[in-house]
Symmetry: C2
């Protein structure tokens, strides 16, 4: 689809969203860990805190450890030989860097061992309706990531978008071949909501992933997101969530 | 000074700070604009909002326009032939990217027309006491910026640091040849305080700049920072501050 077609479809979806596709069976017990990106993105996080997060990730078998690019080589080294992936954030959390810099940041993260890339959409370009800029920015990161077998989640910072914009953003990500849409950075004015996850899942359909991140602190929160259509949760409270799930 | 010497000096300063050096005459009336970086760093800022900020900067003759890297070419084009500089933020606001990526981001901003670079210190490495990493990270950006005649301000995110750490951070910036220390990103847990600016000015002495940013909203705020030792103010309320100064 080209951009006029995307905007036309978004108009239609704004009148009536597609049906919610059939969702996979939600995880039970400790299996919920496989749906969680164990996350530590605070700027003051130290190497020893990253080591601790990686230890927890191995213990509980989380999907990934989601960390800032500086700590990617450390985490990837610690997680080598396990099923836990290393997830790096790109253009984070503002999304307002040049595409060339996002690409270099992605390449450096991939070289350091990341296999999941959570990039922030260029929100300012999006708000200015420069949709080809937004699309090309995502495409550029997706290309270099896919070339090296990594997946890309695009953070939309849903709390900053209108309902119609949320739909347009999801369709741009789908068009760019991204693997996931993700609700929030955790640094914006709001986190994941059930309503947003529902909209995202309806718009992207069953082939793409939906990651709910920001403010997911309990098992109840996580399951609400999963029932709304999320198949990945970003949370710093992963250990608490798994412990709740197994008791 | 090597790092053990820096830490020793920080210990001494933690007992007793050096005297406040003689400060330049504070600006009067509309001249305060020359001390202000007119700032718009919201991720949802659009090109037309950046254009407006640049227009205001030309009208009031601010020191610079401080914007995200994506908008540097736009702003630099609009400000060409004026005294208003284009200031780009690097590794912003978390500071937790690889030095190589900070360097590329700086080079891309310089190529786009930025002549002031506000980089965020690697706060996590600092908290983990990896001071040589922190020093080399700053040095790398300072080198490429100075090579092209640009200046570097290092954002310390003071609200995350202990009193002793604040001193160490200032001394590392001085050692790296940075041009300014800057209090805050505006995205952290706190903004500029008079106490922090006083400490920074005493530690760096009279040869380096001190930029107070984050929460400076009125002329009174700005003058308090300047009287404490700041010679640059970062604010989104620059127009209001100048208007207050000339009435």
């Amino acid at each position: 689809m080209n951009i006029p077609e995307i905007l036309k479809l978004a108009d239609e979806y704004n009148q009536e969203l597609p049906d919610l596709p059939e969702l996979p069976e939600p995880p039970s017990g400790a299996d919920i860990a496989r749906w969680i990106d164990h996350t530590l993105l605070k700027p003051q996080a130290t190497a020893s805190q990253i080591e601790e997060v990686c230890e927890e990730a191995k213990t509980y078998n989380f999907a990934s450890v989601c960390i800032t690019p500086f700590f990617v080589p450390l985490a990837a080294g610690l997680l080598q030989g396990t099923d836990v992936k290393t997830c790096s954030v790109i253009g984070f959390p503002l999304g307002a860097t040049q595409s060339s810099v996002k690409v270099v940041e992605t390449l450096v993260s991939l070289a350091g061992g990341a296999t999941e890339i959570d990039m922030v959409m260029n929100i300012g370009a999006f708000k200015g309706e420069d949709y080809s800029q937004v699309l090309n920015d995502i495409l550029a990161v997706v290309q270099v990531a896919h070339n090296q077998g990594a997946i890309v989640k695009v953070i939309l910072e849903m709390a900053l978008l209108t309902r119609k914009e949320k739909t347009v953003a999801c369709l741009l990500c789908k068009q760019a071949g991204a693997d996931f849409v993700k609700t929030s950075t955790g640094f914006g004015p709001g986190g994941a909501t059930v309503e947003d996850v529902d909209l995202m899942r309806r718009v992207v359909g069953s082939e793409m992933g939906v990651k709910a991140a920001g403010g997911v602190r309990t098992l109840e929160d996580a399951l609400a997101m999963i029932h709304a259509g999320a198949n990945r949760i970003g949370a710093s409270a992963g250990v608490r969530i798994v412990k709740e799930a197994i008791t």
